[in-house]
Amino acid sequence: MGIKSDIRLIDDNGLRIDGRLPNQLRPIKMEVGVLDRADGSAYIEWGGNKIMAAVYGPREAYPKHVQEAEKAIIRARYSMAPFSVDERKRPGPDRRAVELSKVISEALESVIFVEKYPRTSIDVYIEVLQADAGTRVAGITAASLALADAGIPMRDLIVGCAAGKIDGVVVLDLNKEEDNYGEADVPMAILPRTREIALLQMDGDMTYEELTGAIEMAMEAAQTIHKMQIEALKRKYVEVE
């Protein structure tokens, strides 16, 4: 974000560097139930992102002092593999991973019926195997599939989606180049049924009108992604036939 350059992110025809229209998503592929040992799991390929999510629990929360007497705690861990980016990333949680883990936990907590399982923890592990901008939103999308697969009661399937601004144009779902050289990035987590927002961050700057436009664009995209999620979940069971 904000690296000054003379790269043109939008060409004369109004197309982006990967040939997409401003309101077009990257290709998305989802699969549910990919891991045997976890209670629930999902794998997502979102453009160049490859992300695995696994859910364990609800299980008794340890250490005991983190337990909450009347609800379950959601512990999400976002982590990037050392080989997920161009230059090797030092393994282990850094400032960014800790922040994302926290905001993802809170976004997921808003959809789960946490009061059903007092004194327990639900652990969500989001592993980024390959990163190409928008990993947190793809991670949230995969995490919600994994939670549904684990049989955890939820109000809705939560959808992550990002919008942003490049070369003065509000666009949907930034890729790596657009993220690095663009002007703003707005990752969001959306509850598609009620159109509520569970997570909203912004990096860079936009006017009020641009931000409203970006949110509206992500809302529409969330409905599309939501349909893919439903399809992915049902596919696990209908294929058995």
């Binding site: 004194r119 049989g151 979940l233 049902k234």
Partner: protein, 228 residues
Amino acid sequence: MNEKRGVRKIVVPGELIKEMGKPGNGVFVENGKMYSAYLGVVEIRAGYVNVIPLSGCYVPKKGDKVIGKIIDIAPMNWVVDINAPYYAPLHVNDVPWHVDFGYTARYLSIGDVILAKVSNVNELGQVWITMKEQGLRKLEGGHIIQISPFKVPRVIGKGGSMIQMLKEYTGCRIYVGQNGMIWISGSPEGIITVIKAIRMIESEAHTYGLTDRIKAFLEEERGEEHGN
């Protein structure tokens, strides 16, 4: 159960349920409309609309017979893993033997498997189990497998038809705990057949006409055993 090999309607969390009826288990109401809370199948029973989850952990209910594994020993009780979110204590007063203080390990040690009953559950999710009832005992020998607790009713079948069929065809002794743990004892071939059949039930639990397919499978397996 009809002849067709259809798939029951699958709903996802947050999906609107169009079926009419009173809200039952696995659904929630918002603005007068019913939505599913789980990834599961819709079922209407006695005027209530329920969503039966396709996966998930066991939630103990009072009176359930469960199979548990001893994971810890204390002077006055054992700690039993019944595959629920919480471990269940088994107090020395709740076993059919007279146990002196500190001698718990003489009767049940870590790793032993027991058939027990849930005697109480409170709103905090704490569970107590008991073995003081006819038929409840320590399970020795045999084989343990684990399935989703929501598929237990399918393994048992209508009025116990499925489990009865498995027992008849293989000659195995089978106990099915409500928590999804299944204990099987018998000849090695029988055990293998039962496990295969149960895995089949598990993966096809949401389809119709399952009993007939399992019956065909068991016939085939028995045929092989007799060298045909």
